[in-house]
Amino acid sequence: MEEPNEQEGKRPLIPKFLLGFIMGFLIVAFLASILWPGLSPARELVKRAICGANLNGIGRGVVLYASENDDLFPPDFATLVQADYVSPLMLTCPSSGTERATTTRPADVESHCDYIYVPGTSRASGDLILAFELPANHGQEFVNVLYADFHVKGTGDMTVFAGELQRLNDYIAEERRVKR
């Protein structure tokens, strides 16, 4: 007669323990979600996004420059900075730790820049690379690229990135051959 009562008495123990466990886990998850942006791996994701936004801003600067210069793209980043289309801060990838240029002198802008600009392309070049960074900025795991049609794309596949760069190099070779 006592057995069923004992079993009934023990049954709620597991759900109560589980409830406590879940609540404890959720509390830690909640605290972790607040602290997460300050943790290193998440910080790198934010830096990648800022880096992409920098290239986006450079693209907008090129658009503005082109609209006032007979649709010609600028010869270099320094021209964009001097004309105030782009801030020197936009030329540094937050992951690289490079300090922003303090003046608009071309040598200063050049030495405080993490991106590589490819002059000689135009809007018609469309899917060719206009500016890019080296994968070392993001620990060789990621790279952001600005295309001549002003869209920015990030990729973690360096084979694809190298292929895009080689296509650009082949295009330049062909253009140079034609202009000979």
Partner: protein, 166 residues
Amino acid sequence: MKKKTTPFTWGMAAGLLAGVVFFVGLTVYLEWKDRHPFRSQPTFSVEQIRKVAGAVVNYEKSNQRRPVNLEALVKADLLSTGDLFDPKRSPASDSNPDVLYFPALRKTDPADLVLLCTIVTRKRGEPLLAVMNDYRTVELSPKELRTALQRTYSYLGGQIARNFSE
């Protein structure tokens, strides 16, 4: 009198502990993964890039011009397909060689322009490799390679769009 610990309290303590262990473990794992990338990026050795540069020299000697692409070196029997790829990778899996080539450069162009280069190293902190237009093989830091590539693209850009200064 000591109060008896309820199963709910035990559960919550266990949940807190498991949560802390889980999130600390996850953070440590992500940090470690960031330092030791699993993704195998194609890389090139000094010997390989020197071999490719040597083949470009030989091609230039016999044809009085540089190859339009690196595959032309394979067609000319100066290299095998495998020489253009990371040995760990199957050449057939991708058509793009693992070394970047600037076919637009000519022998008469400045010597400090990049003719061949790698963009990824096997391990972090290792130098990137480049063969300059005078066939010097150099090891560069990412910052130095960026400067050399910017110099190369600026020069070539100036050649194909002369109207910048006009």
